[in-house]
């Protein structure tokens, strides 16, 4: 009975995952359909080329912001506050052995 319940739940999970993928595809399509950027002025293109050649955009402050990973809920540091390990491991620990 439990297996059946888990199977049903898993089917629901697969459906939810499919929805997530569909959402993602929608987002990609929306991005692709976005209007192209207007042409860059010659002055700005020249400024950008100079900055690339001299490495002005390689300022550590800019690099750190560029590479900072996206926010992840709910913790501020790319992780949930607690990963629930003790509870899960406790059951493993007693499995098939006297605790």
């Amino acid at each position: 009975m439990l297996r059946s319940a888990i199977r049903k739940r898993r089917q629901r999970l697969v459906t939810q995952l499919a929805l997530l993928v569909a959402l993602l595809l929608l987002a990609v399509t929306a991005t692709a359909a976005e209007a192209p950027a207007p042409p860059v002025s010659p002055q700005l293109a020249s400024d950008l080329q100079i900055d690339h050649e001299l490495g002005a955009l390689e300022d550590p402050v800019i690099i750190r912001h560029q590479l900072e990973p996206p926010p992840t809920w709910p913790g501020p540091r790319d992780a949930q506050p607690f990963d629930q390990e003790p509870r899960d491991a406790g059951r493993d620990f007693c499995l098939n052995q006297p605790c």
Partner: protein, 442 residues
């Protein structure tokens, strides 16, 4: 003859006029430096090799020849900024903008200086101008990243404005419908509190040495689950270096972390972790993270037969994460894979694990954000002391809404569902957790 003489005089006058105009145009063009001359200057060469003092002196000498040139003034500003002289940087940027108010390159660097000195409103205004006016350029792409940081209620990552310290408090309620992750469900409501403090010990050039301490507590409202109340404390030290290799921005980092977890019933575990990590952005809008982590874990209890039941051991993780920005940073996709290998003192806990994660963060109106996440993990326990090898499959699905209240305060409302399948039925479970969290950055 008179007609010919008139024509000659008119032609001469025209020649003189053209000559004067030509001389004026030449004089006017000499007031701004040609890009090729600028690039060939010793000052530019010094800037290229990161000798900003020499570059500054050279740019100032060039400015004497080309007064008020916005390009030279911009590089005087950037050089001063790289030397940490933010006041002088701002003066140079302002002088350039006085000559050329619509120069978006200058507006961009001026906004970075404002950001570094904590002038958040001025920085945001500058970055917004760049995003609107220089769409599709690296200026606009980088400006978006800073703007995301300045967004109200964005409490993730490092504190904006170049501050050395950062502290964060989080408190909330969780409803857990299966506290002990068992085949049968026992639910409970619990309070959780989380505090983090970080300090940058060294921040020089691209180098950064950062130290942090963190604490987490939880208390169940049902007395029967008090033994699951958690107290967790930890600290970490991280050395990183931001640079670029052949124009590709990279940040290699080394981190050491220690974590101690206590349950209400007593000690649980302590873990030392060493991590080597490399972040790189070979393509604009996509960041790749490669990591290797070595954990040394020691548990308080070893069980009745430590050669089988002890969980003490070494766990190695190696993996890759890909962060992709779609539509600026309004949509962010995360893909990850990690392999884990555990060599435990007890045979039951030797394991090989594979984890795949997929996440999507969607920007919503009013600075709200919806985070969707999912994951699949498979674990094999090849030396398991039982009638058959133990295997575990785990699915996870989560959704959360992040709502900013003000610049430093945000609310999160989320749901997280886990399903575990195993060839040992007692290890199968499903578990849902509803979370309400309040986060505050001091």
């Amino acid at each position: 003859l008179r007609q010919i003489a008139k024509s000659c005089v008119a032609g001469f006058a025209a020649l003189v006029l053209f000559g004067l105009v030509g001389a004026w145009v030449e004089a006017a063009s000499a007031a701004s430096i040609a890009a090729a001359d600028f690039m060939a200057s010793p000052a530019a060469e010094a800037f290229r090799r990161l000798d900003f003092e020499a570059a500054l002196a050279g740019f100032q000498a060039l400015l004497a020849r080309y007064p008020d040139d916005p390009l030279i003034l911009r590089y005087i500003g950037i050089s001063n900024h790289r030397l940490g002289r933010y006041g002088a940087a701002r003066e140079a940027f302002d002088a350039a903008l006085a000559v050329d108010p619509d120069n978006l390159a200058v507006v961009f660097y001026r906004a970075i200086t404002d950001y570094e000195t904590g002038e958040s409103d001025a920085a945001a205004a500058g970055f917004q101008r760049v995003v609107a006016g220089a769409r599709g350029t690296d200026y606009a792409n980088r400006a978006r990243e800073f703007l995301a940081k300045l967004q109200p209620g964005n409490l993730s990552g490092e504190r904006p404005g170049g501050a050395r310290w950062d502290s964060f408090l989080q408190a909330g309620l969780q409803y857990d419908d299966n506290v002990d992750a068992a085949p049968d469900h026992d639910d409970s409501l619990r309070f959780t509190e989380n505090a983090t403090f970080e300090y940058k010990l060294v921040e020089e050039g691209g180098w950064r040495l950062r130290a942090g301490v963190t604490g987490f507590l939880s208390q169940h409202t049902k007395a029967q689950f008090e033994s699951y109340d958690v107290q967790q404390f930890g600290g970490d030290l991280e050395l990183s270096y931001a640079t670029s290799i052949d124009g590709v921005p990279v940040i290699p980092a080394l981190r050491y972390a220690y974590r101690r977890t206590l349950l209400d019933s007593g000690g649980f575990d302590s873990t030392h972790s060493a991590t080597a990590q490399l972040d790189a952005a070979p393509f604009d809008g996509a960041t790749t993270r490669l990591f290797y982590e070595l954990d040394i874990a020691a548990f308080s209890a070893d069980g009745a037969r430590p050669s089988s039941t002890s969980r003490d051991g070494i766990i190695q993780h190696v993996g890759i994460k890909e962060f992709v920005e779609l539509d600026g940073r309004d949509l962010m996709l995360t893909l990850g894979y990690a392999f884990a290998l555990a060599e435990a003192r007890g045979d039951n806990f030797d394991l090989r694990g594979h984890d795949v994660t997929l996440g999507l963060a969607i920007a919503l109106p009013d600075d709200m954000r919806l985070d969707l996440s999912s994951g699949y993990g498979h674990k094999d326990y090849p030396d398991f002391d039982g009638p058959r090898e133990r295997r575990t499959d785990r699915f996870r699905l989560g959704a959360a809404l992040n709502i900013p209240i003000d610049d430093n305060l945000a609310v999160s409302l989320g749901f997280d569902q886990t399903f575990q399948d195993s060839n040992y039925s007692t290890l199968e479970f499903d578990r849902g957790i509803v979370t309400f969290m309040l986060g505050y950055r001091l």
